[in-house]
Symmetry: C2
Subunit: 405 residues, 2 copies
């Protein structure tokens, strides 16, 4: 190849300069859009009113960028791919959005139902499952492509003999590539086995109207809260043949029945030192249960109806958030003495808390103050604040490595 | 600024071409060397004989690259930065090497002592501490720059009144930005507080000649193995004023005293379901202790002297590796029935095992077979093998998020 240039030197020089500078700029921009960086200290903050999420860095207390266009995020949650690069955001409107934390952009998005309530990612990271209210049931997607892999309609026959699809709640992943979820109308707990292509379902009778559930951090006990009766349904996944048993028989007894959306979150239970710290229903108390026999061993008075009761990663502190109208404070309980050691005021309408993976800090969202406050867990003093539009849920990428999150 | 070019057009064109192509090539190369990818599913495999490490991807069962020049890795271990991008490799020759998993290269390297035995990273990720045999003591470095931040000589006065530096062992991080370690000659356990600049040390009398230690996953109990006596030293970090207590009083009793380098690793203890699964010393047994009162509740016969006894992340299985000459197999124990459910043959001279963070697979290194075998923990069948030169330790980036690892 022979190249001939007959342009005047100055023009060439200008072109050269423009090209090199321009080229570098474009390159730099592309690079900053998909930056080379570790993903272990990243996370997402849901901005519930604007359908957006913030990508944040927990080491630098920084916002890396905002991702828009995620639909109705009024009750949104997130799980992560096993490389901790992609977040799967479950929106209220049935939207399942895969976002890339490195490029801070939407990779893929499907509207998979009319109304959904959360999801989970399988132990091996291959499947993302979504729990639906409308039309009910569970859908399972390929985590790479978001192609539909399995559909579990969750049909049941009502007392009047009518067949319908049940709302599903409390969907979690469990060891052995299982998903476990509860059927609100059917009063059942189902195990979906995704360890091979058969997508086999095993059904268990549970209590009446399960509204939410949790799985213990080791993936052994699945516990569903019941709207229709007092007490909780427990399934021991190490011994499923024993079926569902009832625990904490008085649990759910309040002064009056709460509407289902005011019931405390069960993901918010704290498991520390062989004890479960549990939000009371309709009482200003945190309940303490012995996990060996599930007996109630203590009631800790707090300043409002608890919503989230979360243990720090070292189990040394229990952080409690509250329901409206007492939701402008967070209380910190010493898990050993069970005393309240501090009452913090992170802002107006505190919605969620997330500990950094090794627990040196905790991020707290205050929706109506449009900010997230970062506290040092040792000093209990604020160390940073992050501006966010009506922030709700906070989800760090370390969840990629935890069972049941 | 005015630019003047008086070079002939052809020369300029050639320069332009060279610059642009060259520039782009360099840029591309740099970019492919530092790939844009998540770091949640990466890890390092120590190649002990060649002073190198392999960077691996656990999702694809792939080697991404080899990093050379790390010195004597005959007893090496790794901790990770909180962004899960950088590994800190502790070599036997006192070398502390910071490697970048994204560019697969050495970022920085210091020879900080004559002989070291491992290290830890602080809860907040700011400090890397190294445990030294020669000249003894602990050194603390800035994790960004590897600049020396604090030096703890670990001096003690011997029975003959001579002052010396003690070898330090069992160095771990603990909540509150603490480091905890044991002094072999001094028979003490020290807490180093790195929560402020004072680097304050608190000393505790322990048993005779601690040779290794562990901290429980919640960072509460520090347990040191003793070479000089039977039993173990326990420090409850929630109640340090109670001092060190002795647990498992018969522990260490074998048919004969083992040399210290043949004593089982204490990091290899499994904590599952309120029970500690512990390698017996000088016996072909795994001991089971109740963590409430540290009483011995069972002895599980196995095929050799156990070295590593590790619980799967769901606590459902206990995997056991063995000392020479019975070190070509791994045994898998059901943690509930305490039966051996499978005896696997991953190759010759099995040295280490590492579970993927959510436990669907486990990687096992066989030094003399020059390979690492990946097993599915559900089927207990091999799913992949990785070629490696005399592989020993395997360390996944999810350790960035765990206390005491």
């Amino acid at each position: 190849m022979k190249l001939e240039f007959n342009l005047p030197g100055k023009l060439i020089a200008a072109l050269l300069l423009a090209f090199v500078l321009g080229g570098c700029q474009v390159f730099t921009e592309t690079q900053s859009r998909s930056e080379v960086m570790g993903t272990g200290d990243l996370g997402l903050i849901i901005e519930r009113a604007s359908g957006s999420v913030l990508v944040i860095n927990t080491s630098r207390h920084e916002v890396l960028g905002r991702i828009d266009g995620l639909g109705d995020l009024s009750h949104a949650s997130v799980v992560y791919s096993r490389d901790a690069r992609y977040g799967y955001v479950f929106g209220r409107d049935g939207g399942l959005t895969k976002v890339d934390l490195l490029s801070q952009s939407v990779v893929d998005r499907v509207i998979q139902s009319g109304n959904s309530i959360g999801g989970a990612i399988s132990q091996d990271g291959r499947y993302v499952a979504v729990s639906n209210y409308e039309p009910g049931g569970v859908k399972v997607f390929d985590s790479q492509t978001l192609e539909l892999v399995a559909e579990i309609p969750a049909t049941y026959t009502s007392g009047e003999g009518q067949v319908g699809q049940s709302k599903t709640v409390g969907l979690v992943d469990a060891p052995g590539n299982l998903f476990v979820f509860s059927l609100f109308e059917a009063g059942e707990i189902w195990i979906l086995d995704m360890s091979d292509d058969s997508a086999e379902v095993t059904r268990f009778e549970a209590g009446e109207s399960p509204y939410d559930a949790l799985i213990t951090p080791d993936g052994r006990y699945y516990i569903a809260g019941l709207f229709g009766e007092d007490g909780l349904s427990l399934l021991d996944l190490w011994n499923p043949a024993q079926g569902v048993t009832e625990i904490l028989p008085g649990y759910g007894k309040g002064e009056q029945k709460l509407p289902v959306y005011k019931m405390p979150h069960l993901e918010g239970w704290a498991i520390a030192d062989g004890r479960a710290f549990v939000p009371a229903v309709g009482h200003h108390q945190v309940l303490v249960a012995d996990m060996n026999d599930w007996s109630l061993v203590d009631r800790i008075p707090v300043q409002g109806q608890p919503v989230f009761v979360m243990a720090s990663p070292d189990n040394r502190q229990i952080w409690v958030s509250f329901a409206h109208p007492n939701n402008d404070v967070v209380q910190v309980i010493d898990s050993q003495t069970r005393d309240i050691v501090r009452t913090l005021e992170p802002g107006s309408a505190v919605l969620h808390m997330e500990f950094t993976p090794r627990g040196e800090e905790v991020w707290v969202s205050a929706r109506d103050s449009n900010r997230v406050t970062v506290y040092n867990t040792r000093t209990l003093e604020p160390v940073a604040t992050i501006n966010a539009e009506k922030p709700s849920g906070i989800f760090f990428t370390s969840r990629a490595h935890a069972l049941g999150l």
